[in-house]
Structure formats: structure tokens, C-alpha cells
Symmetry: C2
Subunit: 405 residues, 2 copies
């Protein structure tokens, strides 16, 4: 069987009209001879409405009941889509997570998918039905409904595509694909035709909202070819797959940025083992998400540590750090609430020396001060003043020839 | 285990405040030493909103998908109620129809419950949890979600109470119990403390909206003691159970009426075998619900047939009957759009001759013309002019001493 798995997010199925449009698109694909499996999210902001109801009862509701509640959203959109297809004379069937055989960990709210047992999906496909599956949900070994956390429907789609050995997995969204940077900010931004899993993973983690990192990880692990496409047109989209080194034309393929960043630095920290671990444990207990961490050991047996956190956690993070600094006798705490993380990404970086240096030069020559730096094999991230974000992205985009390569 | 099963309808769980109130009531009952099992309907008019969405796609949607869609409503209310109980420090768990082991026929929309396998319910009760169960739904042998039709949650509650051998099954509604007649119409109407299954069944079928007839039938079949109670107060309610003949004080225990009735009569119908059957087959094909049918054979080998149908089906029913009359050469078609069916009900009637005669006399003496009559062992129904309804109910209510017996 030639199988396409498609995933449509909440905005794509946000109204009856949109559901009809999605149905037409599915039929178009089926007409090309594919068996169709479609994963849907809940309609528009229905999940948020359910969250509001739950929070009125309990700000921290039972995980099991929260999952049972939220899982209803996808049942509504999947059955409506199945009705729309049937009305258009294409037999369709909606399946909940458990009907589709999506087995997860026992835990709730962020359960990992452990296995997909696709017997029912396959038997419905063999009966020539279009199979619509509730995204974001599964069932655990207690026969309780689970949800799989943020980016859940993308992850469901990838897991199902892997289990079915689908030809590819199309993720529908409201942009044409993956761009070299945000096209709303930089008009020269170009859409990638093909991008490597690892690049996509870095871009996704760095705030390109197109695909959830978990889904990209899963696709890489199981060799699922992803296609990111716009549900409002028939443009080609971006293929995410393993790209061979031979195909790499440019060491840098994307500029990502994240403006929701604050920086906190603690200087003159006594150089005792475990002291940094203690600070970050305290921050973790307060559910503060630390992103970059940079530590520099100075000659006088004192350490400086700087780290970044999301802006809405800044006040709390600063309070904890100041109290900690006082307790351990650090010199001082310095902070900046509004900074940006700007990153260059590219799998070709590994084999192209000087890419990081070129980034620092481009920023330096234009009087943009770099505050912190972290690097991975395929990424360099710099913290800069938030006011310089647009200028920096623009300079890096043209400096690395992303308009033209 | 001492077990109470309670059922709360859509209005009782129509808002977060109402769900909190239901939670308090459940806790009060639990404090008396009962294990609590609670069946809920969908919140307020949520099911109607889902119906509206579906009908925008297809006026006659796939039965399977319609069930998958509608079943979400009860999942929302049950998980919210479980959260509310947990927040009030009483462990609770919500179960869908399939999790609760409610097995139905394969058919959709009006599937009959075939079996309740209460293993999961019992194990949760043994763990001292309050068990909240989605009403109105089950699962069939294909692992597809089914709904069980009108009055569904009452029927779910009775089936679960039977399977658990519960001490009793409380049906919560917005009135204090079952009355001798509609208390909004007749201020002397009295609430029954106890009523027999068969009487309740007739009253329910005749338009007393308190309990669905299917639920009463089920309760009778399995000997489940029902209690109809008001969810807005702590009054005693009405017990529905097998009432021994010794306990019967009055042959008539209730006056029911249905103002949504039209009458059509066809006279001078040739006395040929099967001719009446043909008329009612045609009406059935047009989905017209025929209620009473009265046929009188006259000496001249011609028949008169009169029947009643709901008023919103009057125009169509009349059209079909006129066309039929013309085809078979009947004499004429007579009709009256606005009539009422007034009924007296009582299990004591069987052993009290003259009850029907007394009804006719009361109406006759007060110049209320009786148009059609049908009788069962425990019921006599008369068709009268709709304008006379209130007067007739009043006269019968006092004539049979329902204020005082």
C-alpha cells in the first residue's frame, strides 16, 4: 500500500468551512492512488476553552482527568471531518487514540508514545476507507486516556507514519514551509525545498514554530520523511529528511531568533564543587526553564555564571538567584530582562571552519555587542540586546548568502 | 458494599457552579457510608451544539461518526465533576462508556445496552473512589462508540445500578418527584411518595417528562428501585418500585395529558383485508408517528378509521391520508389539528370496575365531548378538544380524589 499520513492543526480545522476544505484536499490526494491517514488537532481554540473550564475547578487538576477532558477536542474534529468526507462520497472513519492503537507511558499530560499497533488502521485502509485519527492522545496500560503534551499531534503523525511505513508524512500549517529565517521579519527569507532533520531540530528548538522538536526527533529516529506544507495553497512545501553531505551547498541554512529571553549573571561565586548544580536545582524546583548556561572560571578561584530564562520567569528567577548569591557569598548579581538569542544553523558547519568567527565578525563590525555564546556542532547562538534583533538577523541572513545560495 | 447510583441530567451539570453543587451532594451521600456511582449527561445544551455542527456538514450524518461526536459531551462533564470531587478531597475517577464496561448492540444512535461488565467500576469502588460514568454511551463488539438514544442517561443509570446490585438508583431532575398531574397546571397536584413501575411507565409514555420509559422498563425488569429527586433541594422525592396490591388506596394515581396531538379520520373505507395496514405503512414510510388508532366497522361493509399524530406532522399526515382515500375510494377525510389526549392511570384500575365509565361521566357531565377512546389495563385515554384540556384535567384530578387520597 502507498500511504500518505497528513496532519492538520487546530487552525486548519477551526470551522466547518475549513473542515470542508481539508476534506477536499484529502480527496485530491486519494485520487492520486494513495491510502490516506489523517491526524487532526482540536478545532481552533477548543482545547483552550476546556483548559479554562478545568482551571475554574482546580488550577492543578488531576492529570488523569485533565487528559480525559482535553482528549475530547480531537474526537469532535475527527468525527466532523469523517462526516464531511462521507458526505462527499468518500468512505471515512474516525478513530480515537485507543482505537488507533496508540499506546503510551502510564503518566499523564506528557506521556511518551511507546508503541503504535496499527491493526485497526490497516484493516480500515484495506477496506478503502480514509482513516482520521485523533492527534495528541493515546491510551496507557491501565486503559486510561493519556495526552502526549505540546506538539502532540505532530508527534502522533510521525509515530503513525513510522508504524505504517508511510511514503511520507505531511504536516499542514499556515506557512509554505521552513524558511531561512522568519519571512515576516526579513522579506528576502527563502523557503527551503529540503532540509536535514538535525537542522530542522535546531530551528524548531530555537523558536521556528513550524514543527515541534519531538516530532522531528521521532521522524529522524524512524526515517520518516516529513513534508511541511501550507493548508491554504498547493505549493510544494519543505521536505525534511536525511540530507547527504554531498547535497550541502552552504554551511549555514537558517537564522533563528528568540526574543523571549532574559539574562541573569552571578559573579564572584566561590569555586566549590556542586555550587552551580545547587543554583540550577533551586531554579528547576521553581519550574524555571533555564536555556543557555555559560560559566567562566577566573584565576582568583571565583566563578562567573550566566544563564538565560524566558522573560515571564525573569522576576522569579532573579529573586531566587539573588537569595542564592547572598547565601553562598557571591559578589554580585547582574541581569538584563530584554535580550534576544540569535542563532545560525546548518549541518554543513561541522566541515566548514570559521563559520562561528564569521558570525561574530558580522555582528561586531556592525556594533552589535555579543553577551553570551553557546555552540553545538550545527548551531551557534549569541545573546544580544533585544533592540538589535532585526538588524542582526538581517545582517546574518545576507552575510551568509541565504537570499541566493 | 452499599452502593447508590445517581444520575444527573444536563441542566444539573450545566455550569461549573452547578457541577460544584452536584459534587457537594455526592459527598453528603458518601458520608452516609455509601459507595457512590454517578452517571452524568453532557453540560447544558452542549449536545445540541454538537448536533448543529454535524448538521451543517450532513443533515443525515453517518451513525457511527455521529455517536463518536456526541459521546464527547459526557466525557467533558464527567471529567470536570471528577476534578471537582478531587479538589474537595474526595478521590474520584471518570469512566467513559467503554471504560465502565457498557456493551451495546452494534447499531448506532439508538443502540440497546446488552451487558454491563462492572469489573473496573467495582475495583475503583473498592479503592474507595467515587466513580463518575458517562451516560448515554457504550461500546459495541467492533470497539466503536455507540449512543443509546433518547433518555439515554436514565437508561445507563438503571443498567449500571442493576449490574452493581445497587441499593437504589436516584434520578436527579428539576422537580421534586412524580406528581398526580402537572403541578404547573393544577395547583392541587400532589407528589407521589411511591409509585408502581407500570404506572410510571404509562405516565412517562403519556408525556410526564420526569423519567424516560426505557429506563422505567429496565428498572422493572431488573427490580431496580428508582428514586426521582430534585437536584435543587433535599426533599424526599418519589420512589418507583413494585407496589403490592395491598398498598393500593386509589384506582387512579395520575392524570396525564398531551396537547401536541392532531386527529385524522377516514370514513367509508371499503372493508377489504389489509387496507388499514396499507394506510399505516404509507404513514410509517413518511416517518409519521401514529399514536392512537380506533377502527369501527359499520353495517354497510364500510369502515371508519381514526388516528392521532403529533401536530408538527399533521400537514403531511393529512396529505398522505387524502391521497390514500382517493386511491381506494373512501367516502371522506375528516381532521382536527388541535386536540388533546387526556389519560387516567393507575395499577388499581384492573381490580376496580367502572373507572373508565366514571371518567366518561365526569367529562360528559361537564359538556366535554370525547372524540376517541383507547384503553389498556392500567390506563384510559380520551381525545378531546384542545381548549378543554385544563378543565378536563382539573375535573378528573378532583373527581378521582387525587388531592386527598
Amino acid at each position: 500500500m502507498k500511504i500518505i499520513v497528513q496532519k492538520y492543526g487546530g487552525t486548519s480545522v477551526g470551522s466547518i468551512e475549513k473542515i470542508q476544505r481539508v476534506a477536499d484536499r484529502i480527496i485530491t490526494n486519494k485520487a492520486k492512488g494513495y491510502k490516506m491517514v489523517v491526524i487532526v488537532s482540536a478545532m481552533g481554540d477548543f482545547t483552550d476553552e476546556l483548559v479554562t473550564l478545568a482551571k475554574q475547578i482546580d488550577p492543578y487538576p488531576s492529570g488523569r482527568e485533565y487528559d480525559a477532558l482535553l482528549a475530547t477536542g480531537e474526537s469532535i474534529s475527527s468525527s466532523l471531518l469523517a462526516m464531511a468526507l462521507t458526505k462527499k462520497n468518500h468512505e471515512a472513519i474516525s478513530l480515537t487514540g485507543w482505537q488507533a492503537g496508540i499506546y503510551t507511558e502510564a503518566s499523564h499530560n506528557k506521556a511518551k508514545i511507546l508503541d503504535v499497533k496499527p491493526a485497526r488502521i490497516l484493516s480500515e485502509l484495506q477496506n478503502d476507507k480514509i482513516v482520521i485519527i485523533n492527534g495528541f492522545q493515546g491510551i496507557n496500560s491501565d486503559d486510561d486516556i493519556t495526552t502526549i503534551g505540546r506538539g502532540g499531534s505532530d508527534t502522533s503523525a510521525v509515530a503513525i507514519a513510522a508504524a505504517l511505513k508511510a511514503d511520507f508524512c505531511e504536516i499542514y500549517t499556515d506557512v509554505d514551509g521552513v524558511y531561512t529565517t522568519n519571512p515576516n521579519l526579513i522579506k528576502e527569507a527563502r523557503k527551503h525545498d529540503i532540509i536535514d532533520y538535525d537542522e530542522m531540530l535546531e530551528l524548531a528548538s530555537l523558536g521556528a514554530q513550524v514543527l515541534h522538536p519531538r516530532a522531528v526527533e521521532g521522524a529522524k529516529a524512524f526515517g520518516v520523511t516529513l513534508v511541511v506544507r501550507n493548508s491554504y495553497n498547493f505549493n510544494e512545501g519543505t521536505i525534511v529528511k536525511e540530507v547527504s553531505k554531498m547535497e550541502i551547498k552552504n554551511p549555514v541554512t537558517g537564522i533563528a531568533y528568540d526574543e523571549n529571553t532574559s539574562k541573569i549573571a552571578i559573579t564572584g561565586l566561590p569555586d566549590k564543587p556542586g555550587i552551580a548544580g545547587k543554583l540550577f536545582s533551586e531554579l528547576a524546583e521553581a519550574k524555571i526553564n533555564v536555556d543557555m548556561i555559560v560559566q567562566s572560571n577566573q584565576t582568583n578561584a571565583k566563578n562567573d555564571i550566566a544563564f538565560t530564562i524566558p522573560q515571564d520567569e525573569f522576576a522569579k528567577g532573579l529573586e531566587i538567584t539573588k537569595a542564592f548569591a547572598k547565601t553562598v557569598g557571591a559578589k554580585e548579581v547582574d541581569s538584563q530582562e530584554h535580550v534576544s538569542k540569535v542563532s545560525i544553523v546548518g549541518v554543513g558547519m561541522v566541515s566548514s571552519p570559521g563559520v562561528a568567527a564569521k558570525m561574530f565578525s558580522i555582528l561586531g563590525e556592525n556594533n552589535i555587542n555579543i553577551d553570551l555564546i553557546t555552540t553545538s556542532e550545527i548551531k551557534v547562538s549569541c545573546i544580544i540586546d533585544q533592540k538589535e534583533t532585526n538588524k542582526a538577523v538581517q545582517l546574518l541572513h545576507s552575510g551568509f548568502n541565504l537570499e541566493t545560495y
